[in-house]
């Protein structure tokens, strides 16, 4: 009965599923995909406190862009912060404002927030989306890979691959830096998890495997390692 879940047995896969499997991940199903829940080993939760990198690529996220996008999201009842800030929403979802009219909404770590799906449905139900509003949906689920870097050494590890000062006293909770991370155009947002320093990281999904390796390489010096979503939820 207890056959381990494999990424290939589900309709969607993380951009990294081969690497995650090679690292010994145990997968859990979510959003029609296998999410790396744990990598085993001793005390993964402690690793997440120290320095851990998790792949959240299969979790739901949507984007809306173009004139009217921000106003439309305000009309949908969302809290829309200023540019380059992220804000928690009522159900735990996060809204990342990447430009005046470039916004991305993600589910929460436990994937319980349904706001991305609700917004997709609301957009699809618009009678005439091209004109009212004049924006368009962005395929962030497919375009971006999504990692979370957690732990007390997270800022120091990021400093090796990113020119922007992400140290906690210079980069407050909710701040977003859109910059080059390991030579890739990326979004790095500070979104601490229960008081543990954490950065949500997004970059071009086509380079996900390269990026994962670069960040893990930068983490080695501080004893960092991959962690699963269970360790994040235990923070």
């Amino acid at each position: 009965m207890n056959t381990p879940l494999t990424p290939q047995s589900l309709p969607r896969r993380s951009f990294l599923y081969r690497k995650l499997a090679a690292l010994g991940a145990r997968f859990a199903a979510g959003n029609e995909a296998a999410i790396a829940a744990s990598f085993g080993g001793t005390d993964e939760a402690a690793a997440a406190h120290n320095l851990g990198l998790a792949d959240l690529s299969p979790l739901r996220r949507v984007g809306f862009k173009g004139p009217g996008a921000a106003d439309w999201l305000v009309a949908q009842g969302l809290t829309v912060p200023e540019v380059n800030r992220c804000a928690a929403q009522a159900d735990g979802a996060r809204l990342f404002r990447l430009g005046a009219n470039d916004l991305m909404i993600t589910t929460d770590l436990g994937a319980t927030a349904t706001l991305p799906d609700k917004l997709s449905a609301a957009w699809a139900a618009l009678e005439n989306p091209p004109q009212s509003p004049r924006g368009f949906p962005m395929p962030r689920q497919e375009g971006f890979c999504w990692f979370v870097l957690t732990g007390r050494h997270a800022a120091a590890a990021m400093a090796k691959v990113c020119g922007v000062d992400l140290r906690p006293h210079r980069f407050p909770v909710g701040a977003i830096a859109q910059t080059s991370v390991a030579r890739l155009s990326a979004v790095a947002a500070r979104d601490d998890i229960n008081g543990t320093l954490a950065f949500q990281l997004f970059a071009d999904s086509a380079s996900a495997e390269y990026w994962w390796d670069c960040i893990l390489d930068a983490m080695q010096e501080f004893g960092g390692r991959p962690v699963g979503t269970e360790a994040l939820r235990a923070l």
Binding site: N84, V164, S180, S185, V187
Partner: protein, 91 residues
């Protein structure tokens, strides 16, 4: 490391930016092919402070920079809305 100040994202390594050519007045849509070719393909290559389009690649954000082509000093950067603040209609 050379730093450029993006009006939206703040100071960033200049390697994150893409040059987009001189800021110039667009010719009348009915202008001659010669005028249009000049506008599209020919740069003035001025020595001194020029106004140029630049883009911050991670955000695809286009803005205007005033740069001294002699010293490569960036004098000022600002949003394009400072120059282009009303809709233009063409007949």
């Amino acid at each position: 490391m050379k730093i450029m100040n993006c009006p939206m994202n703040g100071p960033r390594n200049v390697s994150e930016f893409v040059w987009g050519g001189e800021v110039r007045e667009m010719p009348d849509p009915a202008a001659s092919d010669h005028e249009w070719a000049e506008y599209v393909f020919i740069e003035n290559n001025t020595k001194g402070v020029v106004r140029e389009w630049w883009m911050h690649a991670p955000t695809s954000y286009w803005f205007i920079a005033e740069r001294n082509t002699e010293t490569d000093e960036i004098v000022r950067t600002y949003p394009a809305t400072e120059l282009y603040n009303s809709r233009r209609e063409f007949k």
